[in-house]
């Protein structure tokens, strides 16, 4: 039920709808819950509706966060401690 997927808006169709694409799979969904959606935007889709736009810069920041060294390591290396 919590199933939601990030998908790319490929085409705007009848007012309020769009065709989205995830990994080559396309479906028509409703944009009634968001504003200013454009072709090329990524959106989070849940039960046939786009819930929110996905921010590519924040996504990139998040991935960088995942790759960070732990705090203790940084501290240790700063102090030259093993």
């Amino acid at each position: 039920m919590c199933l939601a997927i990030p998908a790319l808006i490929e085409e705007l169709t009848t007012p309020g709808n769009a065709i989205v694409n995830l990994g080559g799979v396309r479906k028509e969904i409703s944009l009634a819950l968001i504003s200013d959606a454009a072709v090329g935007d990524y959106v989070i889709v849940h039960v046939g509706y786009a819930l929110q736009k996905l921010d590519p810069e924040e996504a990139q920041r998040t991935l960088e966060m995942f790759a960070e060294m732990g705090q203790i390591d940084e501290l240790r290396s700063e102090l030259g401690v093993q």
Partner: protein
Amino acid sequence: MSTVKPNYARALDIKHGRVDMSHGSGGRAMAQLITELFASAFNNEYLAQGNDGALLPQAAGRLVMATDSHVVSPLFFAGGDIGCLSVHGTINDVAVMGAKPLYLSASFILEEGYPLADLKRIVESMAKASREAGVPIVTGDTKVVEQGKGDGVFITTTGVGVVRDGINLSGDLAQPGDKILLSGTIGDHGMAILSQREGLTFSAPIVSDTAALHGLVAAMLDSGVKLRVLRDPTRGGLATTLNEIAKQSGVGMMLQESAIAVNQPVEAACEFLGLDPLYVANEGKLIAICASEDAQRLLAVMRAHPLAGAASIIGEVLEDSHGFVQMTTKLGGRRVVDWLAGEQLPRIC
């Protein structure tokens, strides 16, 4: 001179005609349907005998028999249809017993009103699949049910084959230490069907993997590898089939998620619909369990065959009285790959 031709019978109107109750009643209409549609397509010496049953030559070994009913909806899908599916499915069930499939029977339950043109497409697809596999359809049956009591067409096929001496494959023969091999990508057939029903479209379409695997099986048997189990993971997918074998053999299993291949559009379609590819049906893949020392050789034999180019070793059999099928996920953690908890997918086989 009379202008009335002797024995004149109007040919079946394939283009516009529909199945009606007379086609199942055993009279002339049914005989005509059988002659003009079925027999002409399936065309072989046994069918030509024209009797209630086919008289077959003596078998040169132990017999294997398998049967399968096909109620797939929609009847036509990317990569196949109920016709070729019913031929491949039963050939595969016979083949994974270690037998060479020899003959098929085909029973049809037709719904009143079903277009003859579509029925002809199905029958021709079956004939083609049968010809290409070299396994003739030697006998059959036709029934018609009232409109609303069927789903267009239901087909049941039964297959008979022969097992060479020395071959002994069974689901209860897996032993701790054995390796588990998979012949290719999973989820293609089920997702081809489901996506069509759910209105998903594709840039690279998902195509059913329906195929006859007896040639691949023959190559695997010829290799001399110590094979324990062969099975095709159809309804319920890879997960269900492995759980069945684990239970039969009283063992556990450990799989590697990274070794199990899933085509990109299948993975994406599963994401869209909230499904796990491990539980999605396949119709052109098989699982093989063999002695550990033979695994690499078996893998090479499989990869050399066009239907198993993407074969991989996906795991091994463990000692485990609970019979758990476990998996190391792509992230390194472990999970159990359990039996399907009663989820009903739409009819896909």
